[in-house]
Each structure stands twice: as C-alpha cells, then as structure tokens.
Amino acid sequence: MLSSIGLTYPWMLILAPLCAAFLLYVYLKRGQGKRLIISSTLIFSQLKNTASARRRINLPWRLLVELLVFTLLAFAAAGVFRVGAGERVAILIDNSFSLNARPQLDKQKSLLDLSRESARKYLQSLPNDAEVAIYITSPRLIQLSKSWISPSSANLFIDQIEVAPAGANIESELAQLARKSELRRIYIVSDQSPALKELPKDDRIKFSTVGGEKQIENFSIGDIALEGNSLTPENVVLSANILSHAKTQKSLSIVASFLSTAGSSLSILSTQGLTIEPGNSKKISFKNLPDATLYKIELKENDGILLDNSAWIAPTTLKRRILFVTDSPDNNLGLEKIGLLDFKIINSQAYSPKLIEDGTPIIFDSNSPAELPPSNSLFINPPDNNAFYSSRNVSRNSQVTDWVEAHPILTYLNLAALKMQALKPLGVPSWANSLINTSDGPAVVAGEFNRHRYAAVGFQIFPYEGGENRLVSILSLNLLKWLVDSSLNNGYLPPYSTLKLEPTTSSVHSLDDKNFSREPIQKGQVTFSRPGAYALNDSTRPTRMVAVNFFSSQESNTLEPGKYNLSTLATKLEEPQSPHSWTKLLAEVVLIILILDLIISTLSTIRQRSTKWNLT
C-alpha cells in the first residue's frame, strides 16, 4: 500500500512531527492541571513519588483527534497521491475528411499518416506511467480508448484511426476536453493550425499541424444532381459542381457512368473536359441519360484528395412510403406514376394512428379520422362531417381569386388557369392558412399543428394524371413534396445517414468498385458511414440503390485548411488536480473532523458549566 503512495512535496511532511511535538508539549503543559496554591507542599512532595499520585500522562481523546487532523493536513500539504497513476494526457487527432490529402501526389501517404506519426512521437515523449486517452474529432468527439491506457498501448488505437467523411469542429471539441480538469496535457494534431492572435491561457494545450509545409492542390465535386422534371424523364440532366482548390488554371476530365437496372457494374456514359480557373467552381452536365438506378460522376485527376473526386446519385434513393387511405373502389389512382413515392393503400376502416407511429405521411382521400393524425397529413376532398375543415356545399365552376405567392405548395403553378370542376370550399382552422381562395371560398388550406404539417384540398386531385393535367399534377407533386418534407430529387444521402429497411431486405453492400463490403444491418436499419453506392438486396423486389456523398468545400480545400480559434479557451481553468491526488479528500476529512470536534466540545462545555466547583 505504502509503495503506491507518492508525495508531490515530500518535505512538507516535516509538518507532521513538528505539529505532533508542539501538540504534545501543549498538552503536557496543559496536563499540569489546575494550579492550586496550598499552604504547604510538605506532605504532597512525599506523595508525588507514590504510584497513586504520580502524574500520569492522561492524554485526552482530543489530543488524538488534533494529532490526526494535523497529520492529515501535513499529508494534504505534501500532495499525497496514488503512485503509478501518472498524469493524464488527452491526444486529439483530427480525422476529418481533409486528412485524406496527400502532400506528395506520387505517394499514398496522407495527412492522417503524418498525424499518426506526430501522435506516436508525442507518446514517446510521455513518461511511462502517463495515462493516455485517444480522441478523434470526426464525425464528433469520440474517445477511442474507453479507459486510460499507457502510452505504448495508445499506439494501437492510433493505428486504427481512419479518416471520416465529416468535418471537424475543433474549437468545440477542444473546449470539451479543456473542461476535463483531470487532464494535465492536451495534444492536438490537425491539418488546421491555431489562430494565434491570442494565445490560449490554458497552457495544457499543445498543438501540432501537419501538412503545412507544402500547399496541396485539390479538385473536388461540390454537388451532384438530377435536374429536370420527373414528368419528362427525357429532359433529366445529370449535373455536378466542380470546385478548384488550386493555384493555377486546370483542365480536367470528368467521366459520367451509370448502373443500369439489370447490370451489376457501372457503364461509362460519357467523358467531358473542363477547364477551371483557380479557386473557382464550374458546373458540368450530362444529358440523354439512360434509364438507370445509379449515376456516377468522377474526376479523373490525381490531386490532393481522391475521395472527393467521385459522386453518386440514385434516383430511387428516397422512395418514401406514404399511407393512402381511401374507400374508393377504383384502384386506379395513378399513384404508380409518382415513382418517387411508395404508396400503401388501405381503407378508412383499416386506418389506425398506430400505423403511422413512425411518422409515415398519410393521405386521406374523401375521408377523415376522428382526430388529427400524429403525422404529416393531406386531406383530399374531406367529407362534410370532418372535424378539422368545416366545409360547405359543393360549388361548380369556382374561380380562383387569390393565392399565397411564396408558399412551396404553390410553386411552378399558374393558378389563374386552375379549373376546379367541383369544389368543396374549406373552413380554415386557426393554425392554418388559406393558400388558394376562390369565389366560393378557400380551395387549398395548409398549416402546421403540433409540429406536423396538415394540408387540405377541397377538390379531387386523384387519379394522378401526370402530363395530361399538368397544373393539378404539379399541385399534387408540390403537395406530396411538402408532405414528405424531404427533397425528392436529391438522390443521395449524407454520410452517417440511417435508413430504415424493409423487413424483407436481406443485405446491403457497397458497390464501390474498389471495396466490396457488406454493411451491418442492425434492428432493421443500416447506417452508411462512408460515401459510395450501396445496393439494398431484397428478395421480394428489385434491388434498390442508395447513394451516399460527402460534399464539403472547406474539407476539400487543401490549399487553405483553416484555422481554429483557441481564444475561445480564454479562461484558464483552475489548476487541474491530479485525479489521483488525495489532497481534496484529506481536506474534506479534516473539515468533517473539526466540525464534529466543535460540536462535541460545545456540548461538553455546556454540560461542564453545571457541575463546576471551586477549590480555592
């Protein structure tokens, strides 16, 4: 036990014997007892040598308490701590996307490799008994080592670090670490450098910047999109935004490829050249797209970061489910024409709020539930007795009189030309607005209530007729888009997105032509941690493709990695206590003892007052 205790200021222990000696002297002096002046000590002087009267050193318990208190205080002053613990060091390694950059294009060594070397070198400088925790910055502050580890063990964790398709909020993460008072040192390795206008007052922080000695040029894809109207697939264009993070003009070659529905490998669509000015962005488009489940654009350039040279887009990525409640015997609602959504049709009797507990949007066609559903809902031609939109008698040939210009439901619409054969004018709940007014009353009402979106249309928009009734179709698509509340046209997900899978999904695998792997399915969902194209294999339906992209001009900008501001750590934290220091504990124990002593002494004094007697 004793060998596991260390002292920061061992010389302070001298206080213990000094205080003990002083205390004993005081008590021996005090122990002389009451002074009595008597006639003569003639008889008493003979008595003092007898055993019964011989002075005894009856040290009261109070002396022991005070000795204990002084000993504890001496140890506290000496800074007792548990040996073998050492100081605690946090190493924060920036593993954001920009660490993919290669300082030398002919070599595979990335900035992350340099970061690992810097971290390892720092670990070697630490004492053997130091306790280390390894942190990474991306996708968020994560401690890789779940407990404090030795510097030698920390190397294993450093080797396992990979670049994450995410940015890094170094300032915030440093602030989180700085708040840990048990850390004696914080070492941060990043391609970003600290803004040194104001030096941090927290001198625990040491930083290392990698890759700063050479400027790395890079080109990246900033975005990918399928532009155009799904109503006219032949006019859909595959476009991408190309960014230059270089100092000179550059001619680039961009290749577009696709994955046909039946094929299992990418086929090249076409190749285009592009000249881009330094620091600029340029858009490139590919037309005449074949029918495909996946498109890919790739920059053919050996630049600083290769991973941002590719982007995918899958047109069916976001086929959201919508519950369609209708009692119409006619199943020809034209829903199949709206290829971006997966409609599940049920009748009004089968409807239950439990069906939409996962937030599935719902459409009520000529019917309505007793209560507002707990999900985004669209009411088409609600019945007269509906609880939300009081409706009036059907009117014919209503004319649109006014509408709300900037509402997303009404975009791309020439409402003046809107013809409604039969309109059931709607009442407007207090939480909603009338978007389209007619001569007979509101025709379209929408609003948000309890964080859900509710819209009502006083006339029938189904069956969906597509191009045959363009105005209503656009209105329908706008309504659906507003209902689904996501971009129907993005075609890709950001990294770390979680996708809920159909129960019949058997596997998910990456279609990366370099890396074929299976993503783990957990509890019916999968999280895509890396950019790429993924195939969702389902025995009951065709394979779905999911595209995952990471676009960040900041992370791809290898010329200017950015700076993090340490002045946010302006306030120096109080001197961190060694987590193994017992000083605070000892001080608390002493305080408790002194309080108890005070209470007991007070009670004793009160008791003594009533029994005092005078000798002389």
Partner: protein, 294 residues
C-alpha cells in the same frame, strides 16, 4: 474593633477562664525560691482568694477580719508570669481564604491574651517574622493588644526556627509559651524552634491550626499543579481516592512525629481544624490539654 468572635458574651465567658501552668515558676510561691529581684522590693499588687497550698503568711488578716474570707496578697513578681504567644503569620496560614487559618490563629491568640491579661499576667505577643514583640499587662492593655494583632498582615516569608529563637529571647523570666501555627514544615525546623523555647525553661503549648482542605483535600480525576504558598515549589499530582488516602496517611505520620516530639519534650499539643467552631477550640479543646481551666 474586635473580631466577630469576641462578642460581650464571649468575653464574659473568657473571664471565667485562667491560663493554667502545671509548673511552679519562680516568684509564684513566695518563700519557695530566692527572689531574683533582691533589692527591688516586693510590690503589693492585688488580692486573690486563698487556695490550698498558699503560704498562710500571705493571708491578709485584715481582709479576713472584714470579710470573713481568706484572701492572700498578690505581689507583682508573683504575677509577672509572662505568657509568650507566638503566632505564625506566614503565607501558609493564609494560602486558603476559605480555611481561615490565620483568622482562627489570631482569634485564639487574642482569646488567650485576654485570659492572660484578665488574670493579671503579662503577654508577650510575638508574631513570628515581625520585629516587634510587644509586651502587654493588665486588662486595659487588651484592646491595644487586639489592635496589634489585627494590624498584623500575614503572608510573610519567615524561618520558623529562627523566629521562635528570636521570640524566645524576648522572654526574661520563665513562664509559658504558646505557639500557634500549622506546623506544616519539616520536623527539624519545628524541633529547632521549640528547642530554643525549651532552652528558656518555658512551659510550652503547641496549637496546630489546620484548614479543612488540608485534612480533607478535594479529589478528582484531573491533574493538579500544587504550588507551595511559601516556597513556590510546584508539584504535579493526580488527586484521586488512592492518592488522598496516602496523603492523609503521610499527614498523620508527620503530625505523629511532631506529637512524639512534643510528648517527649513535655510540650502540650492540640490540633484544631478550622471547620470546627471557634468556641469549641477555646472552651473545650484548650481545657482538654490543660492550657486553660475554668
């Protein structure tokens, strides 16, 4: 102003007492010893009742004729029995205000002086440690004597044996010596002091005055630091039941040693604890040792 004990009733009671001497002193019985005062004449001073053993030649027949009672003449030399009253005013006598040893000693000296003066003997008052030894004679001198006693400020350092020696030297004629003290001093000192009195052929009486706390010290569990009032010697002691028992044993041993000496030296001895009534000392205890008689 007399002390509180000396009420008129008390004084009346004192008048009925006489200092008793067990020995015949020179001049007490005429014709038995050659007078030392040859050539000075015998001066008639007073009458007293005839007692058996008196020389019939001293019967005053004239008084008998007048009164049919026998009276003998008293002569000055016969009455010049000096009673040396040596009183100890040292610090030990005033160490404890509650014990009141000095007050008792002083009152005792005053009472004995009163008795002596009333019986026409002279008193030599010798407060030990004080230079002056005053001699008093006659009843009228009592107040003066009382005033002298009252003026004494006790608490002085003194060497008992030397002071007794000095006091003894003041006595010109054999008589009686009464020493009032607590005798809480080494036996050798007591012995030396009294030996100087014995050398004067005095009939000695020793009255030991002790305080209640000296014969029954309070005990407790705490340590005590006892300080000698005269020597400032400090002793640290634990006064408990056992140590008290031993103390009492040692005190008794000391007193026994003194008593043995007194007995061997024919010195009458009386120990009085101040917690007892003063009247008890004067009217009961003193007659018991034969110092006074009714």
């Amino acid at each position: 102003m007399l002390p509180a004990n000396f009420s008129p009733e008390f004084l009346k009671r004192l008048e009925l007492l006489k200092i008793h001497t067990s020995r015949a002193f020179q001049g007490r019985r005429q014709g038995e010893h050659i007078s030392l005062k040859k050539g000075f004449g015998i001066e008639f001073s007073d009458y007293r009742k005839y007692e058996l053993g008196d020389n019939p030649r001293h019967i005053d027949w004239g008084v008998y004729g007048r009164t049919d009672r026998f009276y003998v003449k008293r002569f000055r030399e016969e009455e010049n029995i000096s009673i040396l009253i040596a009183i100890d005013p040292s610090r030990s006598m005033v160490a404890s205000t509650t014990d009141r040893k000095w007050e008792v000693a002083r009152d005792l000296a005053m009472a004995l002086s009163y008795i002596t003066l009333m019986q026409q003997d002279s008193v030599i008052l010798a407060p030990l440690g004080h230079q002056a030894c005053s001699s008093f004679y006659g009843g009228r001198a009592f107040h003066q004597l009382a005033a002298s006693l009252t003026k004494i400020k006790p608490g002085k350092d003194l060497q008992f044996d030397r002071e007794l020696f000095t006091a003894a030297n003041k006595v010109k004629f054999p008589g009686k010596a009464i020493v009032i003290s607590d005798f809480l001093m080494p036996f050798e000192v007591i012995e030396r002091g009294f030996n100087s009195l014995r050398a004067k052929n005095l009939e000695i009486c020793a009255v030991q005055i002790l305080g209640e706390h000296e014969v029954d010290p309070p005990i407790g569990r705490a340590q005590h630091t006892l300080v000698d009032s005269e020597t400032n010697q400090q002793i640290e002691l634990l006064l408990n039941e056992d140590s008290k028992a031993e103390y009492l044993y040692l005190l008794e041993k000391h007193n026994l040693e003194i008593r043995r000496y007194f007995l061997s030296a024919s010195i009458s001895y009386l120990q009085f604890v101040t917690s007892k009534p003063f009247d008890d000392l004067v009217f009961t205890r003193l007659p018991e040792i034969g110092l006074i008689k009714c």
